[in-house]
């Protein structure tokens, strides 16, 4: 069967890494929020806003990295709104998150119509192009798969690495993790739980938006309404799958992306004529659910996830 041919082809793995990149950005963003104790369900909307903000900025004349910066800032702005409501005000994180998703999505579509009132198909931009890393890209299979990607993909992996180092190797990371485990322990040491949690949500939301921007600026070169299409929710599951660890979360994102790349290719084989294509579309989700069930059993949820912290209450 030609399944092995697919799994051994460089183009398949290159596609998997490409599909994984936006998931990695957003998953790392969500992971930072959750490590600090805040579930950020605004992720889906923030990705939509980031996808639009990055793309429209480049269309308006900013350089590509300028577009990424705008997406980051837009994400941080929505993160700031989320964190004010969920941290010092201590509102339900579910309600705040869903609210942010609805708000960010609607504001994006509104802005789109205001900026481009009369277009029938959205304009294209000159997106990020693959950059072949010298020497490394010559390695068979690995080279084309890993080292012939766009700069934004490399940035996703670097971000995951830095996040891991900061979380587990620096005092700042320890304070973030402790805020998600037992905020009273943080407060008892004279640190501000509010500042730590708000900071984590703002920074994490920025990364989510960059994940969205990847879709319009690297994976594709234009913006469509249903572009994000539930990737934010997948990232929430990937955080659990990765047991709140950046490394494992990256692996989870690649795994999910590989299923996705695989189903497109299997559709084109002889199997595709027998089995309805919807089954293939479903496959990554079904397999992800299975993997999630198996992997997340032993995971340690941050103990104070979704628990608001109010100083001075019993």
């Amino acid at each position: 069967m030609d399944l092995f041919d697919i799994l051994l082809s460089a183009s398949f793995w290159a596609a998997a890494i490409r599909i994984a990149s936006p998931l990695i950005f957003a998953t790392i963003g969500e992971l930072i929020c959750e490590r600090a104790g805040v579930l950020n369900l605004g992720i889906e909307g923030i990705m939509v806003a980031g996808a639009f903000a990055g793309w429209i900025s480049v269309w308006a004349g900013l350089p590509l990295w300028g577009g990424v910066a705008v997406a980051l800032l837009v994400g941080m702005a929505f993160g700031a709104l989320h964190s004010v409501l969920s941290v010092p005000f201590g509102l339900s994180q579910h309600v705040v998150g869903v609210g942010i998703t609805l708000l960010a999505t609607s504001v994006t579509f509104y802005t789109y119509r205001v900026v481009l009132p009369e277009v029938s198909s959205p304009p294209k931009i000159q997106a990020f192009q693959p950059y072949e890393i010298p020497l490394l890209s010559d390695i068979p299979l690995l080279g084309p798969a890993l080292f012939s990607q766009t700069p934004l993909t490399y940035a996703a992996f670097v971000l995951a690495l830095i996040t891991g180092l900061v979380l587990f190797r620096t005092p700042l990371g320890l304070a973030v993790r402790a805020a998600g485990e037992n905020p009273s322990a943080v407060a008892a040491q004279g640190l501000s739980v509010t500042a730590i949690r708000m900071g984590a949500v703002i920074v994490g939301s920025g990364f989510m938006a960059v994940g969205g921007a990847f879709l319009t600026m690297s994976a594709f070169d234009s913006f469509f309404f249903d572009m994000v299409g539930g990737r934010g929710w997948i990232c929430i599951a990937l955080v659990v799958f990765g047991a709140w660890r950046p490394g494992k979360a990256v692996l989870g994102a690649i795994l999910f992306a590989a299923f996705d790349a695989l189903q497109i290719r299997v559709q084109q084989t002889s199997l595709g004529t027998v089995i309805p294509y919807q089954i293939f579309l479903m496959m990554p989700y079904v397999l992800s659910i299975l993997a999630l069930v198996l992997m997340s059993r032993s995971a340690q949820v941050p103990a104070a996830l979704m628990v608001p912290f109010n100083k001075g209450t019993r």
Partner: protein, 508 residues
Amino acid sequence: MTAVGQGAERGTPVLRMEGITKRFGSVTANEGISFSLYEGEVIALLGENGAGKTTLMNILFGQYSADEGVVEAFGQPLPAGAPRAALDAGVGMVHQHFTLADNLTVWENITLGTQGLAALSLRPARVKAKIRDLSKRFHLAVDPDARVGNLTVGERQRVEILKALYREARVLILDEPTAVLTPQETDALFATLREAIAMGLSIVFISHKLHEVMAIAHRVLVLRHGRLVAERQVAETHPQELASIMVGGDVGTPDVPAMPAGPALLTLSKASAGALRDADLTLFAGQITGIAGVSGNGQGALSDLISGVLALQSGRMEIAGKAPDKWDARRAIAHGIGRIPEDRHKTGTIADFDLTENAILETYQSDFARAGWMDWTKARQHTEHLIQTYDVRCPGPETRIRLLSGGNMQKLILGRVLEENPQIILANQPVRGLDIGAVNYVHSRLAAAREGGSAVLLISEDLDEIMKLSDTIHVMSEGRLSPAFARGAISASELGKWMAGQGFEDAS
């Protein structure tokens, strides 16, 4: 027992609080409290729950800011409302509810907040070496790499103390440190504290356990209703004096005069359920039946069986001479069984419900509903009546019960049970964690219910409590019940033998 060290060198106090007053709305938690702590000295803050001990320490530690008064450490005034300031001045606090993150390791918990947040590395090797050194010096054995969630309660407390020592604390504040410890762990803690005093540290020991205060402190400050009512050198006082100052009068222990037994209200014969094995037990009207024994020997199964949570596996249970067809919690309540559960937080109350909702948990369908609709006016009146009759100290019936102290929570539960005039009262560890005043209150109420003709089943680990109150005593060991002994007919040491499992072979 005498305390070590004497804190004889009186220079500048290491800690001074002057005229501290703190009000929460209309409640005055602390009023004009002043004291000084000197180097190498242990002072005990003694007082009942709600006397203002913890509030005072939270002010010192900057978690609350005082409305009036000054706090000084080593002669320097501490700014109000800044926990960091107290830490930096060398004041460390071991909270009653540990402030540790379970999923982090010991060393991570200890180093949290000690390094600048901009630092690029946690320097684990250095942190761990310092922890090992401190553990050795103060005999606080704990593995720096262990996950805190895997540690015992005693070990966690050691981590808390190490946390303070790691920051070079010169003053340790311990809030009810022995509340969660076994007697052996308490001894080890005291050994560590004596070590610390010998090294020149000073300690504030908050407690309501008199014998511990006598064992470790040099000086005792007694708080009552937010005021400092007495100051004594430990060498010049005795537990009885302290107890009476603490509760504001003589400590009256209830009198339980002998009384003829009424009819049998509940009989178990060869009853087995859960951990309970072949138990024979009869509860008579107007009698307190005590169940002694180390907890975890089947007491839970016994009380669950009677309260309808657990089903009978074999044997027979009769309520007022008749075996019920079906048995569940609702039927138990309907049969007049009042329950004071072992764990008032888990099974006794719903923390985020208010007092009214908690007060009618067992009777909301029968007494406080009309045609399927709640009668909140009536429920509220009932709760106000309970608050008044049972002296529940609280702002009002709409207070969430989680805000009440253990003693006040227990008084509400007691009221909830007794107001229904129960035939049988199931009191499982009814005074666990309560202070002397509340203990006596609960005991005298149980004694009064007995006089009113109720059958009381008193389950307790405290042998003194059992022997003081019970008309007949059974001992539980490994799910078995000993035969009944009449009060006065058996000594504590004989009961102890039964508790250790001796005597059962002969009986079976």
